[in-house]
Each structure stands twice: as structure tokens, then as C-alpha cells.
């Protein structure tokens, strides 16, 4: 029994699908806090950055809420972090969608899906896993997840890629570095397979909780 539940924060920056991410975490027994309070982010044991919308609008919203520095700081500390869809794209340096720079936590850029195919890439597609990762534990390579997007992140460092998906182009659909993981697809819309990723992420928080927190 734990005296205090590890706090998990879903970052609220005015983008859509916050509630669906929170509901998925609640279904798994967590009590996520949906907030835009920078201090709550820095105190959190785990952070989820969801996202639907455009990168420029999202970065403006993060800046306006003074969330950019706290996000960089918590990722530098190694706080378990899960970026979803736009929340993955924002981790890179630049985006073809908007001249405004992104968070720049991962080297690389965000590109538009090539022409000739229907955009947005909408529906269930397979993710080929390139290496094992605790968040993908018990999730076979080739599992299907739900995608809705017109842009994708392209890491400059190929070793960041955790999974790839084919849609006209083979693009990076999941990245991981340390305790940071991010997916282009929506685990909260990907049925039992998607919920398993969040379940694994929550397990990671519990493991992390056993470690002392240097900033307290």
C-alpha cells in the first residue's frame, strides 16, 4: 500500500482530447490531474502531453500558460513523460506546419505526410517495434493503433525511434529516450491495446516512485 498516490498530470493547454486521455488513465485506476499549473507539472510523478490541433497554436498556448520551461525541466530531470499525437510532434525542434519553433527536446523536425494519399491519415494502422520498451511490454510488434494526423515527427537521431508505421512513407510513429515516450497515434482511442500502453506507463511511475526524488 502506498500512502500517497503518485500524481500524474495531463497538461491542459486548451487543446482537445484531454478528457479522453484522462478517462483512459482513470479506467486504469489512476487519478490524473488535468491542469495548466506549471508548479503541478514540476511536482508530478508523471506527465502526459496530449494534443490535437496545430503546432503553432499549441506552442503559443504553452507559452501563454508558461508551460514551456517546466516541460523542458521535467524532461531534463527524467520525470516519466508520455506525449500523444501533437504532444509527440511538439517535442521536436521545428515543424513544416508552422514557422514557430517547437519545444526542441528531441533533435529532428516535423514533416507533412506526402501527397498522393488521403490526408489526414485517419484510422487504424500497424506499428512495427524497433526495440523493446517497458511502455510496450506485452504489446506485439505489428499491433494496430488509431491515428489521426497530417504531420509526423522525424527524429534526426535514428536511435530515438521506437516504432514505425507505413502510410505512403515509413514514418516514425513512436519515440523513446530514457523515461520519455511519445506516440503519433492515440492510445486512448486504440482500444485494449492502447490502454495497455498507459497501464505500462503507470507501472513505470510506480517503479520510479521507489526512487528518491532529488528535488524534494
Amino acid at each position: 500500500m502506498r500512502a500517497v498516490e503518485p500524481e500524474i498530470v495531463v497538461v491542459d493547454y486548451g487543446a482537445g482530447n484531454l478528457r479522453s486521455v484522462a478517462k483512459a488513465l482513470e479506467r486504469l485506476g489512476a487519478s490524473p490531474r488535468v491542469t495548466s499549473d506549471p508548479r503541478a507539472l514540476l511536482r508530478a510523478r508523471g506527465v502526459v502531453l496530449p494534443g490535437v490541433g496545430s503546432s503553432g497554436t499549441a506552442m503559443a498556448a504553452l507559452e501563454e500558460r508558461r508551460l514551456v520551461e517546466p516541460l523542458r525541466e521535467l524532461m531534463a530531470r527524467g520525470t516519466p513523460f508520455f506525449g500523444v499525437c501533437l504532444g509527440m510532434q511538439l517535442l521536436f525542434q521545428t515543424s513544416e506546419e508552422d514557422p514557430r519553433p517547437c519545444l526542441g527536446i528531441l533533435p529532428g523536425r516535423v514533416r507533412r505526410l506526402p501527397g498522393g494519399l488521403k490526408v489526414p491519415h485517419m484510422g487504424w494502422n500497424q506499428v512495427a517495434l524497433l526495440r523493446p520498451h517497458p511502455v510496450f511490454q506485452d504489446v506485439p510488434s505489428g499491433s494496430e493503433f488509431y491515428f489521426v494526423h497530417s504531420y509526423y515527427g522525424e527524429p534526426a537521431d535514428a536511435s530515438l525511434a521506437l516504432g514505425t508505421t507505413d502510410y505512403g512513407v515509413t514514418f516514425c510513429s513512436a519515440v523513446a529516450r530514457g523515461n520519455l515516450v511519445a506516440t503519433q497515434f492515440h492510445p486512448e482511442k486504440s482500444g485494449p491495446t492502447g490502454l495497455r500502453l498507459y497501464e505500462n506507463f503507470l507501472r513505470l511511475l510506480v517503479l520510479e516512485e521507489a526512487r528518491p526524488l532529488p528535488w524534494r
Binding site: S20, R27, K118, M122, W124, D166, Y167, K189, S190
Partner: protein, 266 residues
């Protein structure tokens, strides 16, 4: 490879599923929340609620239905019917819908498509289209109809393919193409219509209206070039399960999402 989606559609009137839904177990067959969860477990790729409530009160109930469904549905949920303004869309999305579908309101006020896309992203905005084949037209043409809840609806003078192209330009992220000629006949989708729309637009096209058996689903994808198939009766009356539909399509080389095992059953 992107899977072709299979989407059961539920018509909801003041919080109850209309069109009889036959069920094999004891669950409440008229409760959209229960039914959505059932189809999720069966492997549906998405669920659509279509609100046919005539009253404002009925539409208020719909938001509650969507909110309760979203608590337990972890696949995409699209909601259509009676949405007339950006605020109507916002309330439905806030309740937990992932996409909103507009039809008559978009014909009356095409700017609504762009306003919705600007506010929520084009991936949220689905254009629903009810169409009737123009008698004697060759090559075939189809006219968009509105207010189709009553009889044959009202003519608009809009050509279905041209309207689809314009809606995408305005910001629609997906087009649901319903053939009123085929709807309810169970004789198959209007494949010419599907193909014409699918080839004309750069966004996903969902086939609606006419599915009577699994071959019809296959034809909509293989011949109609649809990205997804929407069906009501064949699933509601348990003629086929979602799993059977996927198996049928997979055997014919159509990429489908395999039905996952819920995490409790490991």
C-alpha cells in the same frame, strides 16, 4: 498498412436506440451506451451515433448519452444529427465525441465547415451527405438532399461530387456518403457514387446506406474505393458480427484491424 474501418451506426432518439436492435444476451438493447460498449468489445473500429431527436430536449439528452459513452469507450466516437452551430459542435466534443458530423446545416451554411475546422481541427469535422441519383442521368449524377428525416427530403440543386470537393476545400476531414436510393434496401451500396466521390476528394470516404451482407462491405471497399464502411441493420439484427465481417474482408485481401483481446482476458 492502414486498415479499412468497420463502423456500426446507431440511430438515437431522445436517448434510446431506435430501429430494433436484436441482442443475444440480456443487456438493454435500447441503451446506446451499452450498445457502443458491445460493439467496442466486438472489434468495431469506430462507433457513430446519429441523433434523430426532433426536440431541443432530445438533443440535450444526446449530450448526456455521449458523455456516458465516452466514459467507457476507448475507440473513436462520431456524433451527428441536429448540429447547427460551432457551439453545438463544441458541446458534443466536450461531452466526449471525437468527431462531429454535419449535413443539412453545412448545406445551409457552408462556412460552418470552415468554422468548425478552424476551431477544432479538420480531423474533427465530418461532412455527411444524403444523395439521390438523378433519374436518367448518364454518366450518373447524384443530388444532395437535406432534411432527409422526412420522406425524400428537400432538393438542393447541389451535385454530390462537387459538394464533396467543396466541403473538403472548406475544411471537412472526412466525407460520409449516404445513398438514399440504396439505404434500407440491403441490396448493396451505390458503388458508382462511392467511387466518384472517393476519386474526387483527398480525405477519407465512408460508405453508408445499403449494406445487406458482407459482400456489400467488400464491394464498397474494393469497387467503391471507400476507406470505411458504415452499417446499421446487418450488425444490429445480428446477421453478422463485426468479427465475421473482418474475417470476410481479410480473406479477400482487405487490410482490417484484428479484433483485440481485452486486457482483462489475458
Amino acid at each position: 498498412m492502414l486498415a479499412k474501418r468497420i463502423i456500426p451506426c446507431l440511430d438515437v432518439d431522445a436517448g434510446r436506440v431506435v430501429k430494433g436492435v436484436r441482442f443475444l444476451d440480456h443487456r438493454d438493447a435500447g441503451d446506446p451506451v451499452e450498445l457502443a460498449a458491445f460493439y467496442d468489445r466486438e472489434g468495431a473500429d469506430e462507433v457513430v451515433f446519429y441523433d434523430i431527436s426532433a426536440s431541443a430536449q432530445g438533443r440535450g439528452i444526446m449530450r448526456d448519452v455521449v458523455a456516458r459513452t465516452a466514459e467507457q469507450l476507448f475507440i473513436p466516437l462520431a456524433v451527428g444529427g441536429g448540429l447547427r452551430t460551432v457551439q453545438d459542435m463544441r458541446l458534443m466534443l466536450k461531452a466526449g465525441a471525437d468527431k462531429v458530423s454535419i449535413n443539412t446545416a453545412a448545406v445551409q451554411n457552408p462556412d460552418l465547415i470552415g468554422q468548425g475546422a478552424a476551431a477544432f481541427g479538420r480531423q474533427c469535422i465530418v461532412l455527411g451527405m444524403d444523395t439521390l441519383r438523378v433519374p436518367g442521368s448518364s454518366p450518373p449524377r447524384w443530388e444532395v438532399r437535406t432534411h432527409t428525416g422526412r420522406g425524400g427530403g428537400r432538393p438542393t440543386g447541389l451535385d454530390a461530387v462537387e459538394w464533396a470537393v467543396r466541403a473538403v476545400e472548406l475544411g471537412a476531414g472526412e466525407i460520409v456518403v449516404n445513398s438514399m436510393d440504396a439505404d434500407g434496401t440491403q441490396q448493396g451500396y451505390d458503388l458508382d457514387l462511392l467511387r466518384a466521390v472517393s476519386r474526387a476528394v483527398s480525405v477519407p470516404v465512408v460508405a453508408s446506406g445499403g449494406a445487406g451482407d458482407l459482400e456489400h462491405l467488400y464491394q464498397a471497399i474494393a469497387l467503391g474505393e471507400a476507406d470505411a464502411v458504415l452499417a446499421a441493420s446487418i450488425f444490429h439484427f445480428r446477421l453478422y458480427s463485426i468479427a465475421q465481417a473482418k474475417e470476410y474482408l481479410a480473406q479477400r485481401g482487405v487490410p482490417v484491424r484484428r479484433v483485440p483481446v481485452p486486457s482483462g482476458d489475458r
